[in-house]
């Protein structure tokens, strides 16, 4: 069997790009959830280049009632936002989020990865367990890696599902991110008089921000 598969791999060339487009289209259409490029590759015949097919499809769907959007590492077909008014039937009642939840979500999105203590410092109040739980339940936030500071606190970051829900290609595309960053409002600036801790945090934070959403990288 293995032998046969190998033969298939070498004997048959990847399908023509038009055919690959059809295949990628079918895979994306069939799924409600965004599909990773890796999964697409796994389902296409060997040697296919879904990146090209995806690029072509994105263009083809640009003016249509359904658009091809990138969500993090994934791709998904979504109805065009201007046609939302037709969809009352499909629209789901989104629970109105409390001000605390909305603010906490925004802080996590713009400052990720961010610790609970940092969220509390920014908001000036403690973050209730319920708020974090709610955002976790919505699958909008997830635990990030632990911070390398005393106590090794957990951090929070936004999820792929968050990006999907708000129609963001990546966390770099968060509205106003660039302005906030250049205004220094995303810096972790500790209160004066606590220099030792702050230095360490600053250095680390810098690294993380560069990694997660370097605005300068966005073309």
């Amino acid at each position: 069997m293995i032998e046969k598969e190998k033969l298939t791999e070498t004997l048959f060339e990847a399908p023509p790009i038009e055919q690959q487009e059809r295949m990628v289209e079918a895979i994306l259409f069939a799924s409600m959830e965004p599909v990773t490029v890796k999964e697409i590759i796994g389902r296409l015949p060997h040697g296919s280049e879904p990146e090209i097919a995806l690029k072509n499809l994105k263009k083809k769907y640009e003016s249509r009632g359904v658009n091809l959007v990138k969500v993090g590492d994934c791709w998904a077909l979504r109805t065009a936002a201007d046609l939302g008014f037709l969809m009352q039937k499909e629209s789901v009642e989104v629970r109105k989020l409390s001000r605390a939840a909305v603010e906490t979500l925004a802080i996590i999105a713009y400052h990720q990865p961010v610790t609970r203590a940092e969220i509390e410092e920014i908001r000036g109040v403690s973050v209730s367990r319920g708020t974090i739980d709610l955002l976790m339940d919505l699958d909008w936030i997830k635990l990030g890696r632990r911070r390398m500071s005393p106590g090794r606190p957990v951090t929070f970051a936004v999820t792929q599902n968050f990006l999907d829900h708000f129609g963001l290609e990546s966390a770099r595309d968060l509205p106003g991110l660039k302005e906030l960053k250049s205004a220094g409002l995303l810096d972790s600036r500790p209160p004066p008089g606590s220099p030792e801790l702050s230095d360490e945090k600053d250095a680390e934070n810098d690294e993380q921000q560069t990694e997660l959403f370097n605005c300068e990288d966005v073309k």
Binding site: A106, I122, R123, L180
Partner: protein, 268 residues
């Protein structure tokens, strides 16, 4: 960003026009609506109708302290963090108003004020982007996913493996299994004690006088050394057995000499 003291002085000297404030009463009624002292400060700062970067922290501190005072007079119990903030703002106010004490270390009043301004600006910025975020088109409200999922069929394929060696060994196993049998000694060259006894008993009656033991060896057992050895050993063992039971006598003239035997019943 940095709130300098001259700014503060100016604001202080110009006094606070009461109509510029949200009334403290109004704020106290809405106390439950505030998400902590920072939120309250942010709301107070808005009454200055200035860019957050230009607000007077000193003025803000005064407003806050006034608010706390009013709450106290109304016997409204404020949460601890509001009181902590009040104490800190009172301290900040004194640092901003009094000339700096050269002996005192730590951050200056201006530094502390600047940080508070930064915090307020940052909180406001977070609120602005939170609003922007929530105003975005949202999945399930403005744009929609595929209405139903087309089932992806899970196929479990078993890839059976066998190597050429497996095959050959299997064949070898089958073709050779008939060749195995339970272990038994090959007895072709074994002349048993029983056989010798039987033969001796039959012959001894006919013997007269001393006869060399070798004459009792069976026919056909003298062709090979193995057979001679086996037959001789058993015949000798048989004569010992018969001598023991008194049927015959044995004699040997000297070491390694010929062994002779005769029937006990015969005379001579």
């Amino acid at each position: 960003m940095v709130v300098n003291s001259s700014d503060s002085d100016e604001n202080l000297s110009s006094g606070m026009a009461p109509n510029e404030f949200i009334s403290t009463d109004e704020l106290i009624v809405d106390l439950d609506g505030f998400e902590g002292p920072l939120d309250l400060l942010l709301t107070l700062s808005r009454t200055q109708k200035l860019d957050l970067m230009q607000i007077s922290i000193l003025q803000l501190a005064e407003q806050y302290l006034e608010f706390v005072e009013k709450a106290r007079s109304l016997r409204i119990e404020l949460a601890a963090d509001y009181l902590v903030m009040a104490a800190w703002l009172a301290y900040l106010k004194s640092r901003l108003l009094l000339p700096p004490d050269p002996d005192e270390s730590g951050p200056t009043g201006e530094e502390l004020a600047a940080h508070l301004a930064f915090q307020l600006e940052r909180l406001q910025a977070m609120r602005d982007v939170a609003a922007k975020l929530m105003a975005r088109d949202q999945l399930g409200r403005d744009f929609f996913a595929r209405g139903f999922e087309e089932k992806v069929e899970k196929i479990r394929r078993i890839n059976y493996q066998a190597s050429l060696l497996d095959l050959i060994q299997a064949y070898a196993r089958i073709r050779t299994k008939d060749e195995f049998r339970p272990f038994v000694m090959d007895r072709n060259d074994v002349y048993t004690l029983e056989q010798a006894l039987e033969r001796m008993r039959g012959l001894i009656g006919y013997s007269i006088g001393w006869i060399d033991i070798s004459t009792f060896l069976p026919d056909g057992w003298t062709s090979s050394a193995n057979r001679i050895r086996a037959a001789t050993a058993s015949t000798f063992a048989a004569t010992l057995e018969l001598a023991k039971s008194g049927d015959l006598e044995l004699r040997q003239s000297d070491s390694f000499g010929p062994i002779q035997l005769r029937s006990k019943g015969s005379d001579g």
